[in-house]
Symmetry: C2
Subunit: 335 residues, 2 copies
């Protein structure tokens, strides 16, 4: 069993502001023949996600920062080529955290065998994977939706946002979503979003969202931060819940940005603003997989993917996350 040629994407320098393709470079790091306890995997798909931007800063966070000159990491789906571990056999489909490379050989413990049950492999990086579970857990555990409530979702056409919108519809809510193009808004309407707002062309965002939610909002699912968060505070009903999933509008800030000027509403309106990362809800994995697979099968949840091809385009795929280049899940097909 020979080694497999593999290219990997490394952090060339720490991005300042919006990341550019030249913040990254591609190097060779072949996947060795696996010894005992090791597994050799060819990656089929890798994920690029907004949260990775945070790991490019050199600062403490819930995951350690990426190091300059070293390969990036992220969710990926691969196929076993050779195995020195009895738990894995050639042909097995596995999920793991070593994306950003074409192949790797690593201890068996880093891989999880996946029975796709007929679903597309790449769905396990999106609607059936981390983004889908982020939407499911954050919205249900923090949003605590009740039928008839009004839900506002920013970044609604993204992998997480679009899942939140559709789960909210399943739960009987009225859904307002924002996105950055008319095409994305059209797609959101096609999957049942009641009010899709193009935040780039709608004029004053507060006015536009208020028109869609004249009585206010009960739940805000935040992927964006910034002005969207301020609008949500303004329109929040008493006891509204804010699921703080991300603030992509702020990830590339080079200076600290003032918070919302109306944060004081948190007191008078008895709001709950709760941040989370998906791993907080590991205990919900089972119900997530069951519910989501059923919803997809029943046509209640639809998902879009935006696909780049080849490891040499992985950095470009990542950069596009910050310019609205994706509808639904942004993926890189590697093999």
């Amino acid at each position: 069993m020979p080694s497999i040629p593999s290219r990997e994407v490394r952090l060339a320098k720490r991005p300042v502001g919006t990341p550019h393709a030249d913040d990254f470079d591609v190097g060779q790091n072949d996947a060795a023949e696996p010894g005992p306890g090791m597994v050799q995997v060819r990656n089929l798909w890798m994920s690029v996600d907004p949260y990775m931007r945070g790991r490019m800063y050199d600062r403490p966070s819930y995951v350690p920062p990426f190091q300059i000159g070293e390969a990036l990491q992220g969710h990926a789906m691969g196929q076993v080529v050779a195995s020195g571990d009895p738990g894995f056999a050639p042909g097995d489909i596995v999920s793991h955290m070593f994306g950003w490379r074409e192949a790797l050989t690593a201890p068996a413990v880093v891989f999880t065998k996946v029975d796709t049950q007929g679903a597309p492999i790449e769905a396990f990086l999106g609607i059936l994977g981390m983004p889908g579970m982020t939407a499911y857990c954050g919205f249900l555990a923090i949003g605590k939706p009740k039928a008839g409530e009004v839900v506002f979702v920013s970044g609604a056409a993204g992998a997480v946002g679009s899942a939140v919108c559709q789960i909210a519809k399943i739960k009987g809510c009225t859904v307002i979503g924002t996105a950055g193009s008319d095409e994305k808004c059209d797609w959101l309407r096609s999957v049942g979003v009641d009010h899709a707002i193009n935040y780039k062309t709608c004029g004053d965002l507060l006015t536009a969202v208020r028109a869609a939610a004249p009585k206010g909002i009960d739940i805000y699912f935040d992927n964006v931060g910034g002005e969207h968060l301020e609008v949500a505070l303004e329109l929040a009903k008493p006891f509204a819940r804010f699921a703080e999933c991300g603030m992509i509008s702020q990830y590339n800030d080079t200076e600290a940005r003032p918070g919302p000027a109306n944060l004081i509403y948190v007191v008078g309106k008895s709001l709950t603003i709760q941040g989370f990362i998906v791993s907080n809800y590991a205990s919900m994995q089972g119900e997530f997989v069951t519910d989501m697979a059923n919803w997809i099968r029943d046509g209640k949840i639809k998902y879009e993917e935006t696909i780049e091809h080849g490891i040499e385009n992985a950095a470009t795929a990542f950069v596009k996350l910050f310019s609205g280049g994706n509808t639904g899940k942004m993926l890189v097909k590697l093999s």
Copy 2:
């Protein structure tokens, strides 16, 4: 049964920025002889509280705004002089929401008879009343303290803050409190606060609080907002809880103030920032009264009061809340 002469404090004009005594005036409004179903009460004590500042703005909130030319309202303790209702008899001690006046005659339904059980009447406006219950409910229901956790309290020498500090000590927490004078800090230490910080003289607040909580904070009880909130976000441990009780540093702002520039920590640290008003926790009234009465009796909770005398000094008492003029509960003795 004659009418009782009574003066009342009216809102003369809406304060701009920090309130001044001349934003208020005193007028005559005698308390009539009570007809059937009515009760005539002489007020003994009235409360001034920071939240009243919000009602002086003309804007929608959880309570309607005060009207210019009309008497203010607020918690008070009074004694029945005459009663046209079988539920009340002369001499009864009552609590009600019609402070800011010396006497009143009103329907029986607005009064609640109080069995003081030997406690000072005025304690029912402070440690045994709304401020004490605010501290108890907000800290326990939102803070969810566990022994060994680190609790940061702003406005720690106020009526609410000082109760929070001592409840936190009862629950086995380490307590850091800020106040605006050395005298207040000395008092906080005398009631068990581990680290009392004079925020006016400590230099950089973040540095001072970090020195007291080198491993970070688990719970922040916010009475102040502004810089204190930003410091708390900076020092919050993962899964920290913020009980947002008030933001007194911002109540007199004439322009919207930018929120904390580090609010994005709410996501990565999985923080919960929850605002509340005490009436959300009406169901906890019974356990509050029992616990607090026991703690006071056992010497585990001590309280201070700052007392002004006479209805003509009520506005002054209120204004002093915003210049640090009170340690513990600010009260006005009326009779």
